[in-house]
Symmetry: D2
Subunit: 289 residues, 4 copies
């Protein structure tokens, strides 16, 4: 790696940011945490106020998302609320790395968009995060399901980044695996990968499954589909926002449906922190080249 940034301020966030801080410090850079009042000390890392941290840094790393709907930076390790408005004057001369840049810009006026990099917009970040999500989903399945994945009847709905990662990982357990998708090339890829391919529109023709992973960002699991294929199933919904399951109907049907949100931060914060670090480094290197 070679780039000019020497001191990173990490403002707000959760365990991911702590791991990110640890790993950047281990690489020999200076790291200052801001908005981590509950963290008393951390080997090789300074813990200061948000403003001090920003002032002493060459670049600032904000979490994903970088601000909540009220304009505060999420901060799991602080009892204080961190207002982006208050930090704006200090941030405006700094290089910023954040997730969901648009939210940041909607609450600020002084920030220069050209000095802000949104790591969440980058394919390398999203791809790595999708893999972590897939591992997290499999961990949930292994914990909750009372049989082995080996031999289990499993359905993966959707063959985007998370669906692909799930299929690759699940194949290692030799389940009875079905995958649904819409595009012909996805159905082809699913067959080559050794799973049964089914068009999404034909889900209703299938039989009952033991475990279902839904990665489709729309309401797929409505009452009739669940009644047909999910009544004995553990249903893990990986779709963000509102999810892909009619949870009321699931409750009525007695189906064990889990809306698994933000898995990277929950199931593998260490890796999720590393992904932030890697993406920041890659952005800096690309510019330096």
């Amino acid at each position: 790696m070679s780039f000019d940034c020497k001191t990173f301020a990490i403002i707000g966030g959760d365990k991911r940011q702590l791991y990110c801080a640890r790993q950047i410090a281990d690489d020999g850079y200076e790291v200052i945490l801001g908005g981590f009042d509950k963290v008393l000390s951390m080997r090789g890392v300074s813990v200061l106020s948000e403003i001090e941290a920003i002032e002493k840094s060459d670049a600032v790393i904000l979490p994903l998302p970088c601000v909540d709907k009220d304009g505060y930076i999420p901060s799991a390790f602080s009892d204080k609320k961190i207002s982006i408005k208050e930090l704006e004057p200090y941030l405006c001369t700094k290089r910023i790395f954040c997730g969901m840049k648009d939210k940041l810009l909607s609450f600020t006026k002084l920030l220069n968009p050209l000095m802000i990099n949104d790591y969440y917009e980058r394919e390398d970040f999203v791809l790595a995060n999708a893999y972590v999500t897939a591992e997290g989903a499999i961990s949930i399945a292994m914990e909750k399901f009372e049989g082995t994945l080996n031999g289990a009847k499993i359905l993966v709905c959707g063959f985007g980044r998370i669906g692909k990662a799930l299929v690759t990982l699940l194949k290692g357990f030799n389940p009875d695996l079905t995958v649904s998708a819409r595009k012909p090339q996805d159905l082809t890829a699913i067959r080559i990968a050794g799973a049964k391919a089914v068009h999404t529109r034909e889900l209703l023709t299938l039989d009952k499954f033991d475990i279902i992973f839904s990665t489709v960002p729309s309401m797929i699991f409505e009452c009739d589909l669940m009644a047909k294929i999910a009544t004995d199933a553990l249903l893990i919904d990986l779709a963000s926002a509102k999810g892909s399951v009619d949870y009321e109907a699931a409750k009525r049907l007695g189906i064990d449906a889990i809306h698994a949100l933000s898995l990277p931060g929950k199931s593998a914060p260490k890796t999720a922190g590393k992904i932030i670090k890697d993406t920041v480094y890659t952005i800096l290197e690309e510019e330096h080249r």
Copy 2:
């Protein structure tokens, strides 16, 4: 399948036995539970007293182990104690399937050893159980470890049945995998399997790991070895009985060491119950042939 047994009594046990009962009933045989007072009813299965259950059956399935050190049949779903002595007169004319036959014989006089099959002595049972143990161990690792298995520095100690199953499953996650064993053919097989092979006697020369699975049935993880390779590790001890870890030393070193016993029953009772069923069927078929 073809054999003469039509009615099975399942006496004592835990969730595995319930799943076993369910699956035998689904195959069209009659199943009677005894020693399951807390189970009020189960579709397609009778719940009776132990004695009635035995009397009405062609064959009796006891749990693993079939009796505890005081001569009682373990029964997670009953508040009563089930004494093997009291059941002996009813059992002595029946075909019996159990785990750890010797314990059963040590508490009884009337039973005919030729009518007792110990499924735990059979390689097909033990092999399948080892696989379930490996999945359970990986589930624990995924739940407790704060990173992904992908890219994690992992050590598997021992290359017996459980070690082999662990290596096969772990490879699917693409970790940085090292496996220790003693026999030259095991070291060869480990290399072919794409992992780093190290002789058990050279464990002390290794660096720190993120996750360690120990499958060796002897005290391997003493203070010095743990201080060298395990201080940052999640240490999952799969060795039965006393385990392979000096737990006092682990505590002093602040190491997260887990003695994971009886994983099949805990992590995958449905599959563990199926393995009992499959083994009983195979024994009956072998005789019938």
Copy 3:
């Protein structure tokens, strides 16, 4: 499957077309071969003149590419030359499936572009063909290399469709695998897949390999790079057209470089024929819906 086409004419091509004909006939459709004079008979399939075949059909399947640079349909099983100009009057009222439609249109005036489907333009076709190419390349490597793939030092250049398929297949052999690419997300995906990732621009920093697969469609393996990493290697060039290797330099350096063109037709015509059939069916179904 449900669509209206009942009779297919297959005009020109090689073994792929014979397998394609066989499989369409096995599905219950009528199939007529044209331009296969050397094929005397084939169970369940008619062999006629090109014109008769076209006239009796609902749809015509042409090979990939559908015409050569002189305007003839490639036909490995005929001594005659099949001129597209002569067939044009018969083709112009038919539904046509072909590879590389533009070549066909450049030699004809009467054909209606709306009645021509280019299967080679479809992602499902190209993806499946890339997989077949990867298997073919591995077959060559296994045949020519004097060691096992297991443990061999292997480089895959490029992480497009073929590169991805190669990596997935090669991982099953547990080689010492390095993959080069340019995009950050590809480098990330390579690492997750358990291979060493290297940026294409850093190939010159690597050491010698046993086997190199090049999938990059540009001149990568020039003299200096080959002298550095390929002198002991089997070099399999999968780039179409001029390839990615300076073959003169390879000769001087004594490197075993193989330009492996058109692998699907050579190494797996049965599957390659099935891919044509599957794609034609999918196109027909999409329209029928």
Copy 4:
């Protein structure tokens, strides 16, 4: 590695021995070839007469098998016949490594059995060789079969060392895989490995396959079984000696049956030579310890 032997004579053999010589020399030991008249020179290795080579060495490596049925050491790179009787006086004071020690002893009187190690008797050698055989068999299948392994209907008969290695490797291609065996634990392991398990006695109930690998050392593929499941198949017979196929019947049925003998030496002499080297080293280290 640490042992006392400094100079190795390699007497007779084929390409495996040349690779073995090359690799031992690369490790820094002195290597002398004897019985390789056609090899004019080899970097870092001496080429002498058999007797000189033996005299100057600390240990002698003979091929597998070490002598043919007439008492000559097989030597693919010499036009002379190398009689073991003539070399006996020189060999009798030397440490000897060979394959099939009993053949050697049957032609000699002076040799001390305690100074002879049979690498072919060792599990690490046999296991590694079985793996190489499996790769070689897959290479043949890929070359001869006109479709891809992906999706092909494949049968592996037997689940010994070679069968296990075949199953592991084939799974990477996602075929439709069936494996036959006799022992209940093997049938269990096959199912866990994600293949269909069938008892050997039930092979006659199966349908036709595309590719069949037979690893069973007895006549399994008689006329009736082949007529039922192999008429469209590529049949690769890996059983040594007389094989497991009725080749006359196969000819009558028009089945493409290949008796693939001695695959390690043919398909991967480099790895086969390394296996000899590794086994010799391990034996020496075990003694030195």
